[in-house]
Each structure stands twice: as C-alpha cells, then as structure tokens.
Amino acid sequence: MRFGVVQFPGTCDDRDALLACRQAGEAELLWHGDADLRGVDAVVIPGGFSYGDYLRVGAIARFSPVMEAVTAFARAGGPVLGICNGFQVLCEAGLLPGALLPNLERRFICRQLAIEVVDAGTPWTCALAEGQVLSIPAKHTTGRWYAPPELLGDVRVVFRYARDANPNGSTDAVAGVASAAGNVVGLMPHPEHAIDALRGSVDGLGVFASAAAVPAGA
C-alpha cells in the first residue's frame, strides 16, 4: 500500500500525515505543482493553511495541478482522504458535499474530542465499527460543516461529534462526510494526530489501517 500526501504552500500537517500513513504502509509527499500522482494507491490531503486560507479556506489550493490529478483519481474510485484543510479543499473542489464555515465561537479551537463512526462502508473506515467512538483531536477556525437543507438528505455522513463534543456548530454534528461512492472522505478532526499512545491516543490508526486493508485497485 502506497499513500501519497499532498503538499501545498501553507500545508502544515504533511509530515504528521506521512507518519500516520507509514503506520499502515508506505508513504511519500506529492507536490502541489505536479499533476502526477506517481502511482500511489491512496491520496491524503493533510491539514494546514494552504495559501494562507486567505481568500477562503481551500479555495485556492483546489485549482493546483495536483488537484486535477486527484480529481481524476477520485472519479476513478481511488481512495482520497481530506483532513481539516484537506477536507476544505475537497469541498471546494466539489469532490465532497457542503462547505466549511467559521466556528460559531469565532476562534481557533484545539481540543481532544470524541467522534463517532457513522458509516463503516468507506475505504477509510472499513476497519472501524459503526457506533465506535474515537478520541481524536480537532484544531481549526473554520470547521462548521454546512450543506443547504435540500442537499442534506443525500449526504453520506461518515463521522459525527459525540454528544456535547461538537466544537464548531456543524450541522447535525457532522465531523466528516463521504462522496456518494464513498471513496472520497473528509473530516475536520485529525486522525493523523492520534496514532501514538505517548502523544495521547491511538484511535486514529484505524483510519489509515482501513485504507491499507482495501485491496489495491479495488
């Protein structure tokens, strides 16, 4: 299993994502200016502040050459995971439904949270159990997931904040969603920061192990 971790100018959690992917397989960085995914089996778009998030979170990064390749890869069924800023980029790119709005508290929050697995049918959750509660940190200013009411019914929710844990006012406590086909998943909390008991939690490992458990090309 070979993961590719996308690096934009302003990406911050790229090395962290590499570390996490390497718990489950091999991993390498993919440069934003390269339209070539170098044959990786799965793509992770990590957290950070691509292009400073200056225009609107994820808005600029989604036009980069690598995103053209990611889009084609996703349309062909390849597993793509967007974490935090990566989630925002995938929403902007139209690969995931909805958009991320500023937290209701209008502040950056960095907090260890409980999130519940709602859909174990995606390549990023298939090694987890529905109803399982994970302890995973979240850190963001713009994490309030929103979709217009008329779209909401069709959205595949993958993760929800556990009761009282919604840090940002996200609609229906949604923490992560998938594309209709399920292969593209985005979430605000950071599973790559929950991979070592020394640093607080190992509950994020299952996300990367899930992708590794899917046979390549499936």
Binding site: T11, C12, D13, F49, F108, I109, R199
Partner: protein, 730 residues
C-alpha cells in the same frame, strides 16, 4: 540637504552620540547614514544600557553549542542534534495593535530560529496585562492571544506552553514575549557571518514597505505615553503564510548547501541584518537599494534601509550559486533578489543604481556605540501602590481557596491554550495543563522539556530573589517532567534604566538570574532586553522572563501533574521551613502592599530537591509531581486534583508554631513540590529530601484538616472556580 544634530536627537541619539558618528565618518552623516546609525545605536540594537550587565551572566557549559551573540542560543541534546531557542519581546507594538503586534512577535522569534538553520518545533508565550476588570486589558488579552494563535497555528509550529499574569502595573504597558525552540543537526547549523568578498547578498521573502520606519529607535526607546498617537508607526502586519514559505525555502537552501551565511531581518531591517553579517565576518557589504523589491514605489533609500517589513531573510552565497538560490525561492513561491555583494572594504556602502547614497564603517556602526554605566539606587519602599483588595479579612480558608483558584493569575489557562495548536509536528507528549513543563519527543526516544516563567510581583518586592526564584521555578517545572536544565534564555522587561531605581532593579535582577543559573548549571545562551516599559502610572513590575530547556532520557516516563490513582499517598516535599505569605497571591487578593525584600532562598538546597524529584520521576516512582507556586500548598493540591479528575483527603496535623494555618495552606516559597504515588516511593524520597506525607488521593472532593480547621470543596466547585478565565473570551 544634510540632516543636523537636531534631527539626530529627534531620532533618539544624544548630541554626544551624534558628534561621535560624525567623527567616525570624518564628516556629518547624510540622511541614509544618520538613519542607519540612529537605529544601530538605539537601545534595542546596541544594548547600550544593558550590555555591561549582560556580560556578568554565565554563558558557558559543556552542552552549550552557541552562546549569546548569534540570532539564538543553542545547546546539544545528544545524537548530533542541537536545540536552538530564544525569547523576545514585542511589547510596544502589541500595546498599539495587539493582534498584529503579538503575531509579528511570534513571526520575528521564529525567524531567529530558522536563521540558524533549525526547524522551529515549539513556541511559548509570556504575557502580562492589567487586571481583567479593565476593558482595555481584556481587549489586549483577547487580541494578543488571537494574534499568537493566528501566526503559530498558520505556520505549523505548535504553541506548547506559556504563562500569563494580570497586575495593575501592566495596565498601560502590557508585555508580550514569545519564545521559540528549534531543532537542527549540529553539522547543518549555519551562522550569520558574511564572508568571501565577491559573494552575492540575496534578499528573499516579502517585499519592502514603509513598515515600522523609525520603529526600533522611536518605539523601543521612548516611554509610552499619552501622546503615542503622534508616534504611531505604520503598523506591521504579520503574514504567516509568507513566513511558512520562507521557512521551508530557507531550510531547503541549507539542505542543498547553497548558503554561506543566513540572517533574518528584524528590528532595523536591512541596516542591522546586513551590517551585523558584515561585522561578524569582518568584511564589507555593498547593497543596491534600487534592486530591493518594494511594496510602495516611491520609497527613499533611507526608508528602504530601515524598513521593518516582516517575513524577509538575507543570505550570502557564491556568485555561481545565485541562480540555484533563486530557483529554490521560485519553487517555494518566495521572491528572491540579489541586492548586493560582499567586499573586503570593511564598509557598508549603500547604492541606488550607480550612485553611492551612504558609506559607513561597519565596525563603527555595529560595535562602537557607547555603552553606558547605570547609576543604580535602591528605591524607598512603596514604589508600587498596593494591589486592590478583593478578599476580605472575614474570608475562611475555603473562601480563600476558591478565590485563589479563580484568581486570574492562577485560574486555568485552557481558554488561552485552546486557541493554540499544541500538537502539530507530532512531538507533543505533554500538552499545556498536563505537566508543569511541556514535553516534546526527540527522535532517539528522549525528550525535550520547555518552560517559561516570571512573577513580576515578586521581582518588584525583591529583584534579586524574585529573579532567582523565576529561574528556579523554571527548573522546578522541568524537574516535575523529569528533565534536567540544559540552558536558559531570558527577556529583561524593565522600565527606563536611566532612572536610578530602575537601574537598581535591573542590576539586582541580572545578578539573581546569573547566580541561579550558575547554581542550576543552566547557562544563559541568549535573550533579549526590553527597556523603557513605563506607562502613565509609572514603571511596570520589573519582569525578567526566564525560559529554560531541559532534557529527559525516556520520554515515556515524562511526569504529569495530575493525581493518577485512588489510594495513592500524597507528600509535600522540599521545604525545610514554613512558607511565607509575603508577596504571595493571597497577600495580593487581600490587598497587602508589596514587602520590601523577600526571604533569602537557599538555592543549593532547592537545586538538590529538584534533582531528587527529577530522579524519582525518571525512575517512574511517582505518579504525579507538581511544584508549589502561586497560591501555595492548597492551590497546588487542588490543581493536581483537577488535572487528574480525582479528589484528595489531606491531614496537615496542627500548624507548627510560629506558622499560622494561613501560611501552611497558602504560603509560597521556592522549592516545594506536591507528589503522589505509592507510599513506599514517597518514603524513599523522604530519605533524600524533606518530605511529609500529607494525605491520600481519592473521592470527588478536596478535604483538608489542619488542627481545628476544616476545608471541604467538591471537584465541581473547584473546577468552576478554576474556569474563571473562560468568561474573558466570550
């Protein structure tokens, strides 16, 4: 037209200094030269009132890789790795525009770290505001914290620790200090000394605008008063995205071996960075301001030379490497421009195209500013008005406990730290609130512990002892995490040193800092000085902020402060005598005036206690360790309860005369610790250092007996009191 002596005075030079400048040039300086001299000879750049004192500090030790003099200090952490760290202030810019002031403070200290080739791995902040019942203080707090978070979070460096105090003495002059820590392989470090005549000087990063023109001399050397509107600089706006690219670009330039020297642009911009590079290398530099990319087209050469636009770096490389350097810049979408070259003239020559607009001797500019002796004089007591009483004489110990936990200087810092990303880069083993020091994982399985501290009220009461106490407290924090100090950085935030009583505070503080660091074996490898911190009501509390870095061999055994297991024994260790209420947090809540002098600390004893605690933590013998600080024993125990989510039952016997119950419960003194664990382990600790078994972990309340006194408070009550700062951020 040539500027005259009155222009020099307006720029902050004295008439005598102006005459010296003219002497060095052999003619009166022109505008560019005067602007450059006035900045380089400002307090901020020349340390003219503090340099002599700083020379008394201990700076050497077996682990020191780089002492003061470079952009940051460095100590070896084993395996060929070096930890680079420094603290710096951005007080005056933060008082003007707290969000941008604090943000650019973080940006500035981070550049000092990667200027040495180190990847920044942590930020800590040290903040001082007026009491939070002042609307302005709340505004400054809210915006400064947001600014620190904005910069640190966006650039991907975790903010893992810090401290904040609220005192009236900071009402009109807040303090915003930031410390940064970096990591680099020793053989990959780079210095700032320019060398090799003919080599190219390349400026890269943001374009140059009229930011902070005159800032270094006018801002840093003028007392901050009601007429600040007239002195208003053009505010520097931080751009963490640009700095993130600059950081990655700088590190890649080094990794590829393209650079001879690297230097950040901080205060005094191109003037100080270029001339200091030249001075360190014993060379000259020619710079062409016409090649500097400008944000505003019509800038004068002198403006370009003194601009403090953020997010810029200067490097020296071989002429045949310029294209490679610019290619790396292009990859990171950073603007790079060759703007000059290294010469063997020993002079800084400023050109605009073909025209020489300034020509000055590097040595005169950088090294020859006159240094001044201080005229210290111990002030009469009563320099600072007593704090406002908020706790009446009728208060019970229980009232006092809850009031102390809710006191802004003690209440939980979570509402601040939640706004900081403390986990990016995957090294954070002890996050804020989990242990007394933050702990970061090193590649070999060891760890780095970092702490920053200073209680200005104690320093105001006794600059020597208060400053020594700050250094000792940093080391105590490290000990609780299981770490041994390796090196120290400091930021001396003081008032106007030309006033004898401020000179005395500064002199005494530096003496206390030096003595404590010598005893700790934690040499001072860098720091910063921020003087003239005075508001309308007088000087700030003298505030020497101390930052310390330590190491622990096994990060898996890093200590925690929270009680961990029902039934564990609790011991109070370290103290040989009863603690005192003098200058304590309780005394402050009671509105008591500051005492004139504090009881002397037996530093050697405290250092021995720290060693015993450290070894016990490293051996895994303790389940928690926490140093007793503001609020004394009872507050320390309550903090252990809250951090661990467990109650405690204490039986403190009867207060030993002459100590009163109040001193026993809330007195403060350096070198005291609350530890928990199996009682055998605590008894064993007691064979080395004073230790007193005082109770047991368990239940959902803190229950205390002390002679006839009883204190009972449920965890929920304690937690509610401790959450007092949350209300400041709504």
């Amino acid at each position: 037209m040539l500027p005259g002596v009155q222009d020099a005075v307006a720029l902050g030079l004295t008439e005598a200094e102006y005459a010296l400048v003219a002497g060095k040039l052999g003619r009166p300086p022109n505008q560019v030269e005067l602007a450059m001299f006035s900045l380089m000879w400002s307090e901020h750049c020349s340390y003219k009132h503090s340099r002599k004192l700083l020379r008394t500090l201990p700076t050497e030790g077996p682990r020191v890789v780089m002492g003061p003099g470079e952009n940051a200090g460095a100590v070896s952490v084993g395996d060929g790795l070096v930890c680079v760290f420094k603290v710096e202030s951005h007080n005056h810019p933060s008082a003007v525009e707290p969000f941008q002031g604090a943000a650019t403070g973080v940006g500035g200290i981070l550049r000092d770290i990667f200027a040495l080739g180190a990847r920044p791995i942590a930020v800590l902040d040290s903040l001082r505001f007026g009491e939070p019942d002042s609307e302005r203080s709340r505004y400054l707090l809210d915006r400064a914290v947001a600014g620190i978070g904005h910069y640190g979070n966006s650039i991907g460096v975790p903010t893992v620790g810090g401290e904040v105090y609220f005192e009236d003495a900071y009402e009109t002059n807040c303090l915003v200090n930031a410390m940064a820590v970096g990591l680099v392989r020793e053989d990959a470090m780079i210095r700032s000394a320019a060398s090799g005549p003919g080599n190219a000087v390349v400026l890269f990063g943001a374009s140059t605008g009229r930011d902070g023109i005159g800032g270094a001399s006018v801002l840093a050397s003028a007392e901050f008063g009601a007429d600040d509107a007239a002195k208003r600089p053009s505010v520097q706006v931080g751009d963490p995205f640009e700095e993130k690219k600059l950081l990655e670009c700088s590190l890649e330039l080094l990794e590829r071996g393209l650079l001879v020297a690297l230097q950040d642009l901080g205060a005094a911009g191109l003037t100080s960075s270029a001339s200091e590079m030249a001075s360190k290398g014993g060379v000259g530099i020619d710079l062409d301001v016409a090649r500097v990319p400008l944000r505003e087209a019509d800038m004068e050469p002198f403006e370009i030379m003194v601009s403090e636009s953020q997010e810029r770096m200067l490097c020296v490389c071989a002429p045949e490497r310029v294209d490679d350097v610019l290619a790396v810049c292009a990859k990171w979408e950073v603007h790079g421009t060759a703007i000059g070259s290294v010469t063997d003239t020993g002079r800084m020559r400023i050109l605009r195209g073909g025209e020489v607009v300034g020509d000055l001797p590097v040595a005169g500019l950088v090294d020859d500013c006159p240094l001044y002796d201080l005229a210290p004089e111990r002030p009469a007591p009563g320099l600072y008005p007593p704090p406002r009483a908020v706790l009446g004489q009728e208060a019970t110990p229980r009232d006092a406990l809850l009031a102390l936990l809710a006191s802004p200087n003690i209440a939980s810092r979570l509402p601040l730290f939640e706004q900081y990303d403390w986990l990016v880069q995957s090294r954070t083993v002890r996050r804020p609130g989990e242990a007394d020091a933050a702990v970061l994982q090193l590649p070999g399985g060891g760890g780095l512990a970092v702490s920053i501290d200073a209680n200005g009220r104690r320093v105001a009461a006794d600059p020597y002892t208060g400053t020594a106490a700050a250094a000792l407290e940093c080391a105590s924090n490290l000990a609780c995490a299981g770490a041994e100090p390796l090196g120290t950085t400091n930021n001396l935030n003081f008032g106007n040193p030309e006033k004898p009583h401020i000179a005395w505070q500064l002199t005494e503080a530096v003496r206390g800092l030096g003595d404590a660091c010598r005893a700790l074996g934690a040499p001072i490898v860098g720091g910063n000085v921020s003087l003239y911190n005075e508001g309308l009501e007088g000087p700030i509390y003298p505030t020497p902020v101390v930052g310390m870095v330590g190491e622990l061999p096994d990060v898996a055994r890093a200590g925690r402060l929270g009680f961990a297991a029902e039934g564990d024994a609790i011991a109070l260790v370290g103290w040989r005598a009863a603690p005192s209420l003098a200058a304590s947090e309780l005394a402050k809540l009671r509105g008591e005036p500051l005492p004139d002098g504090l009881e002397e600390i037996d530093v050697a004893h405290v250092v021995g206690v720290q060693a015993a605690i450290r070894e016990a933590v490293r051996a895994g013998a303790l389940r928690s360790a926490h140093d007793v600080a503001e609020g004394g024993l009872l507050v320390a125990v309550a903090e252990c309860c809250l951090a661990g989510g467990l109650g405690a039952r204490l039986d403190l016997g009867a207060p030993a005369a002459p100590a009163t119950p109040w001193e026993r419960l809330f007195g403060e003194q350096a070198g005291g610790f609350v530890v928990s664990g199996p009682s055998a382990a605590l008894t064993a600790l007691g064979e080395r250092i004073p230790a007193e078994l005082i109770g047991t972990v368990g239940g959902d309340a803190l229950e205390v007996r002390l002679g006839g006194e009883r204190v009972h408070a449920g965890l929920a009550e304690l937690r509610a009191a401790h959450a007092a700062l949350a209300a400041l951020f709504t």
